[in-house]
Symmetry: C2
Amino acid sequence: MTVSGVDLDARPPRANVNEPMCGSRLVLEHVTSRWGVLVLANLLERSYRFSELRRTVGGVSEKMLAQTLQTLERDGFVHRDAKPVIPPRVDYSLTDLGREAAEQVWGLARWTERRLGDVEAARETYDEARTS
Amino acid sequence: MTVSGVDLDARPPRANVNEPMCGSRLVLEHVTSRWGVLVLANLLERSYRFSELRRTVGGVSEKMLAQTLQTLERDGFVHRDAKPVIPPRVDYSLTDLGREAAEQVWGLARWTERRLGDVEAARETYDEARTS
């Protein structure tokens, strides 16, 4: 069956991130993007103004942060609240859907911090085995 | 205090992914890299031979898969087992540390598959609000 030029029978029966053309892979890439991960993990703790968030996520440029927030807003993860005040004030917070994603990446961020020592030890062992 | 040319006092008191120079950010980037996520999530289900894994992770090139596996092996997440047989056979599986990381990204992969419909609906709403 074809609707608007799309062959529905050619779509996978269910979403599958292993399929390059499945939309779930793109969502996974947004959620796990370099800045997406950090934005979601920080927003799980509280809402942020743009400039605050930029200071918190070390190393992000204004342009990349704006792009990341826009992608996450379009995917329904982030709520953008522009207050009608002077000077303009924009707050970013998580939607319910975004909170679900953020809980998972927050866990991953805290895990990498906790396990950094183990990873560094593994790298030393790996490198030593290849230079001796 | 300086040891082997490293100023220990200049290191952050604990790992923090928000710090661009903290090693945990690089680990997080390895675990959440485009192919790293998919490799870890698949290896949580079972061990794979290289060629099998390449067929499973749709769209990955031989070079990118080899690089991803090597990075994950060096970080201590993946165990590479080269069997002394002809033709050569190499199996990849998770270490205990890798299993911890993989459980988190596996959860994230399944979540994006389950929530794809909600994300697509959010995008439609977003796009409609901007074209009407």
